[in-house]
């Protein structure tokens, strides 16, 4: 099976990027991926890296060395799945380089299936940003993620109109979690893979049900899209 490269991004911080990236990484663990590597661009602290210290590398993408580290490594060291957690203030710079150096095509040539998850928020700028990124993607699975915890821009008619113009994207919806559940999964020792493997053990019943529903909602949407296509 082809290996994957998943880029998780948004135009603003705190839109649920790291949460989605964690779910994708955990999904890779659950489906038995031998190994995956994470490039966390939240330099120098790292966000996602805190949850997957052994698989993660925190990279300063603002430096050329960091760009070389990410893009060259992905093309040279194949046979592994990759996740890039892209810091929001690097969004445009990252995709400009991505496009300028012809990375998308090279990655496809190297046998990687690319997915770009873009998390929308409630402001119009998010749609304009998404459209800009979409225009740079030609061989990737482009997913617009509506995170119900941060609101829904698509209720604005102008946003819905722009959404309709982005022809190469599909949609994914992330349900909102209760504060208790959100806090529960924030804990550094929590993993969705562990939660699933232990059948939700350790969580109060109500939260267990909420988290199951949440996971099912997200993973099932991903699963449907993946049939015969780009994903896992």
């Amino acid at each position: 099976m082809a290996n994957t490269l998943t880029i998780v991004c948004s135009n603003k911080p705190r839109n649920g990027k790291t949460l989605l990236a964690r779910m994708i990484a955990d999904r890779l663990s659950l489906t038995g991926a031998d190994s995956f590597r994470i490039f966390d661009t939240d330099f120098p602290e790292g966000g996602l890296a805190g949850y997957f210290p052994e698989s993660s590398e925190i990279v300063d993408l603002a430096k050329t060395q960091g760009q070389v580290r990410i893009f060259d490594t992905i093309l040279a060291e194949t046979g592994v799945d990759y996740i890039i957690d892209l810091q929001s203030d690097l969004l445009d710079a990252f995709f400009r380089i991505f496009s300028d150096i012809g990375f998308e095509h090279a990655a496809r040539e190297a046998g990687l299936n690319l997915s770009v998850y873009f998390i929308l928020d409630r402001a119009m700028t998010t749609m304009q940003s998404a459209r800009r990124i979409g225009e740079m993607l030609h061989e990737s699975d482009f997913v617009l993620v509506r995170n119900e915890a941060v609101g829904n821009v698509l209720t604005l008619p102008e946003a819905a109109r722009i959404r309709a113009q982005i022809k190469n994207a599909r949609d994914l919806s992330m349900p909102a979690l209760s504060i208790e559940a959100a806090n529960f999964i924030e804990k550094p020792e929590f993993t969705f893979a562990g939660f699933v493997a232990r059948n939700g053990e350790g969580a109060p019943l109500e939260m267990r049900i909420e988290l199951w529903n949440f996971l099912e909602a997200v993973y099932n949407q991903r699963g449907r899209a993946a049939e015969g296509a780009v994903l896992l």
Partner: protein, 252 residues
């Protein structure tokens, strides 16, 4: 095809003159236009390092070396000649060329003559354009604004530049875009042409192991440069299939 002599110069060092000459030779090679080069950076020769097969190092102050360039313009099978003037030597070199009749020969149509004047954002650099202007009658005078090493594009004050530029009646303008510093260094270190770097080849033609990212930066830069060069009448003339129409623009 009429011979074409292309001079590349700057009165100030460190403005990217040799890089421009390299970029130009690279461009010509990509377009399958044979060229030969003379490097006046005697005795070291940066240009010679990158193009050893087509570059001779000369001392323009020596009559013997002037002859190597000028007396062979018509006879050499390679019709395009690029001369990289030593840094800080532009006015002097043009003065020599004026004295020995090179500029006059070009004006009377013996060959096409072009000058790439590489300028940086400093006022000193812009002042040179005025000094050089007295020599540029009858040649393609191209002001190449160099952004290659600039970390900050805004160092260029557009209003000031336009003021200087407007004073030159026959000048054309191109921009040498910025190239990522690390990419530039790596090409330099490898001692290969920009094209070879992009194609991941060593100077000897073997497979190299250059970074994909850095090659990508150079490829993008070369594409941007192509666009800049192709704007020039001089280049359009060189690329034109007809052999007799390579004279400079606007003629009756």
């Amino acid at each position: 095809m009429k011979p074409t002599l292309i001079l590349v110069g700057a009165d100030k060092g460190g403005v990217g003159k040799t890089t421009t000459a390299r970029a130009l030779l690279d461009f010509l090679a990509r377009k399958n236009i044979l060229a030969r080069a003379f490097d006046t950076e005697n005795p070291r020769g940066t240009l010679h390092r990158f193009y050893p097969n087509i570059t001779q190092i000369i001392d323009l102050g020596e009559v013997r070396d002037q002859m190597k360039v000028l007396d062979t313009l018509q006879s050499d099978a390679v019709k395009v000649t690029v001369v990289d003037f030593k840094a800080g030597n532009l006015s002097t070199a043009l003065n020599i060329f004026e004295k020995i009749g090179v500029l006059e020969a070009a004006r009377s149509g013996d060959f096409d003559l072009a000058l790439f004047h590489v300028v940086g954002p400093s006022i000193a650099s812009l002042d040179e354009m005025g000094e050089v202007a007295k020599y540029t009658k009858g040649m393609d005078y191209i002001v190449a604004r160099n952004f290659i090493n600039e970390t900050n594009f805004f160092e260029w004050d557009e209003a000031t530049f336009k003021k200087y530029f407007a004073g030159l009646s026959n000048a054309r303008e191109i921009e040498i875009p910025k190239l990522n510093e690390m990419a530039y260094e790596q090409v330099d270190l490898a001692g290969v042409t920009f094209t070879d770097f992009v194609n991941n080849k060593t100077a000897k033609g073997a497979d190299a192991n250059f970074s994909f990212v850095l090659r990508g930066y150079v490829r993008k830069w070369m594409n941007d440069l192509n666009t800049e060069f192709e704007k020039l009448e001089l280049v359009k003339g060189l690329l034109a299939p007809s052999t007799d129409s390579a004279s400079s623009e606007g003629g009756q």
